[in-house]
């Protein structure tokens, strides 16, 4: 692995060179929060940010995305035939993504790329993207990445990791894609003896993360006993839940979508929109029957999916990278850390039912 030193004074010049070969995306401050945006020519990402309000998932998987176009004009030769629209899959680079959000792409990829079927839209976006991560020096109290399979300096799913050393970035070039980007930017100056510096910064950052989830027992817990833990877990959490989609939409690893046809006069598009298992509509049959008709069943689905079904299905940890967005944004303070720890320590043998006299 190459490590390059980029003086901050030269960083922007490198980005300008990148503009010729890549479409650039990065965190930008909007009013009081940050969001990932396609950067205009000359526009620079603001790397002083903590993290974006919504996750980076929309970079590869927009909230609403056209899958097909069609004509509803019977006189057209291709009437009613679905056609893929032209899309821009030219190289793009995301500058300054946090490791937790990059790790989320690896989680989501397990869903979008399977041996049998490949989600061409997500994968083409993913293949076109070079991820330049920014190590996290100042995690916030709701961060718990280190116990969720990620970490403030995690390199696993990045092409380059930038480590801020004050007046310079150490760029750890991790993949071929990363090398290509570093070359395009003209970032070539080798960094000497950086390893010790980076590992010191990494330990410092990790030690700032005080909050955690315990996940070691999740795999061994019986699926049906967790599912049936109404009194111990689900009733209390379900009570406060208002069944909005905030947690699922803020989450970098929630991947569910709905498909809709939208017509405009004599043409239309088949689009997919993020969907949420919190909504009753998510699971209702055409007959009106709803297998998850109760709020309790829906909130249980979300946590069971992330912390049990996913764990059992892939054996790759939990479907969460510990970014903490759902904890910060839930309007009624449902906290995945609490739920995860309850699931992890749940003992169906000990009666946790409320005793009423």
């Amino acid at each position: 692995m190459k490590v390059i030193k980029i003086d901050k004074s030269e960083f922007n010049a490198g980005l300008e060179k990148l503009e010729n070969a890549y479409r650039l995306f990065g965190p930008v401050k909007e009013q009081s929060y940050y969001a990932f945006k396609a950067l205009d020519a000359g526009e620079k990402p603001d790397l002083e940010y903590t993290n974006t309000r919504l996750s980076a998932k929309s970079l590869l998987y927009p909230q609403s995305e056209v899958l097909f176009e069609y004509s509803l004009d019977k006189s057209d030769a291709d009437y009613a035939i679905l056609k893929e629209p032209e899309k821009d899959y030219s190289p793009r680079a995301v500058i300054g993504i946090r490791p937790c959000d990059a790790d989320a792409f690896a989680v989501v990829r397990r869903n979008f790329e399977t041996p049998e079927y490949q989600d061409t839209y997500w994968l083409k976006n993913y293949d076109a993207t070079t991820l330049v991560g920014l190590a996290c020096d100042n995690p916030v109290p709701t961060c718990f990445c280190t116990s969720a399979g990620s970490g403030p300096f995690n390199e696993a799913n990045l092409d380059v990791l930038l480590v801020d050393t004050g007046d310079a970035y150490l760029a750890r070039v991790l993949t071929e894609k990363g090398e290509k980007l570093a070359d395009s930017a003209g970032w070539t100056k080798p960094a000497d003896q950086s390893e010790e510096d980076v590992s010191k910064r990494r330990s410092e950052a990790e030690s700032k993360i005080k909050s955690r989830v315990n996940t070691e027992n999740l795999k061994d817990q019986a699926l049906t006993s967790l599912y049936d833990a109404d009194a111990a877990i689900w009733e209390k959490e379900a009570f406060s839940c208002i069944n909005c989609g905030t947690c699922t939409y803020a989450c970098p690893t929630c991947w569910c979508f709905d498909v809709q046809d939208e017509n405009y006069g004599k043409s239309g598009v088949r689009i997919r929109n993020w969907d949420s298992c919190m909504y009753p509509l998510f699971s209702v049959h055409a007959s009106g029957h709803n297998p998850r008709g109760q709020k309790l069943a829906r909130i249980r689905q979300r946590f069971m999916h992330k912390l049990k079904y996913y764990v059992d299905k892939y054996d790759k940890g939990i479907q969460c990278t510990g970014c903490g967005r759902c904890v910060r944004m839930c309007p009624v303070n449902i906290d995945i850390r609490r739920v995860c720890n309850q699931m992890n320590s749940y003992d169906p043998e000990s009666c946790s039912c409320a005793v009423t006299s």
Binding site: I242, G245, Y249, Y279, V332, T356
Partner: protein, 319 residues
């Protein structure tokens, strides 16, 4: 607020012990600053988690609809007004409720405080005696006057004391002087805009909406079994984040709340992206006041103006 919390616990325990209610609905301390979590207590042990402070902005009236038990409910002024609306609209029976009234000292604006701080907030200390909040985070600690960081609806509130209750946890607080609070300054500002200015204003108002429906779902008024945005036969509204569909959702939802909204602010508080949903509902509140001399949720004896019909209605079109 310790006295408030203690009093809520004491009353709740008594109600449960005497069997007057099957459960009590209140708040427990949140796991993050500026947030408390709605909870129910069915036994005395659970009651010990109850808390009251300036972060109880969620409207608990939202949690009683269509329940069959006898319910004790902790209710501040606006919650009690929404209970009145629920009773009028047959969403709960008066005799099912034991309302534990909380004379409200106003809630703080979580979005506003978060935006004022240079970093992520780690803890908040509330000092009731001098009306301040000390907000601490990594590398900062700031003391704020609570009065300066209230939820806007709380700053404008004229009904901090519950209007309907079975018992109060403390003496009533002094209500604000209507002469000194300009309820509708923000509404007038929009009313006075030129059409293109208005268009731009609403454009930007909803530009960040992600259609999570937290505003709708936190609202006690939004109890429809199937909301019009979720109808599929016919489908009234598209489901993408197309601006026309997003606006349709917000405008229609606001109209459904006209004459019923108590300006509790739960919608704004819940919005994960900080949209001022009240910009719409406050305008409709003003219209209801001016056209019908109506304020919602103050009496069980009158129905809201938009769900009644009078044979002697002065308007011709309705006959």
């Amino acid at each position: 607020m310790t006295t408030y919390s203690d009093k809520i616990k004491e009353i709740s325990k008594r109600l449960l012990k005497e069997g007057k209610v099957d459960l009590v609905i209140g708040f427990r301390k949140g796991s993050v600053p500026l947030m408390n979590q709605p909870m129910f207590a069915k036994n005395e042990g659970d009651v010990d988690s109850f808390v009251w402070d300036s972060n109880c902005g969620i409207n608990l009236a939202n949690y009683v609809t269509d329940r069959s038990e006898k319910i004790g409910i902790v209710a501040k002024g606006c919650d009690s007004r929404n209970l009145v609306v629920h009773i009028i609209e047959n969403k709960i029976k008066r005799d099912q409720l034991h309302i534990i009234g909380v004379p409200c000292k106003a809630m703080v604006d979580r979005h506003k405080i978060a935006a004022m701080m240079p970093g992520e907030i780690e803890s908040i200390e509330e000092n009731e005696a001098d009306g301040t909040l000390t907000v601490t985070g990594s590398g900062f600690s700031e003391t704020l006057n609570k009065a300066g960081v209230l939820q806007e609806n709380c700053a404008l509130c004229m009904h901090r004391n519950p209007v309907l209750y079975d018992e109060l946890i403390a003496e009533e607080v002094t209500e604000q002087n209507p002469e000194e609070v300009d309820q509708y300054a923000a509404v007038r500002e929009v009313e006075n805009m030129a059409p293109e200015e208005k268009w731009a204003y609403f454009d930007s108002l909803f530009s960040e909406c992600i259609r999570c429906y937290a505003c709708r779902n936190a609202c006690p008024l939004c109890y429809c079994p199937t909301c019009f945005v979720d109808e599929s036969k016919p489908q009234w509204v598209g489901k993408s984040v197309d601006p026309a569909d997003v606006r349709t959702f917000h405008f229609l939802r606001a109209y459904h709340c006209a004459g019923r909204c108590t300006d509790c602010g739960a919608c704004v508080r819940s919005c994960p992206v900080g949209i001022n949903v009240r910009a719409l509902t406050k305008k409709l509140e003003k219209d209801c006041l001016e056209n019908f001399d109506w304020k919602s949720g103050l009496t069980l004896d009158k129905r809201p103006p938009l769900d009644t019909f009078r044979p002697d209605d002065p308007e011709e079109f309705i006959k």
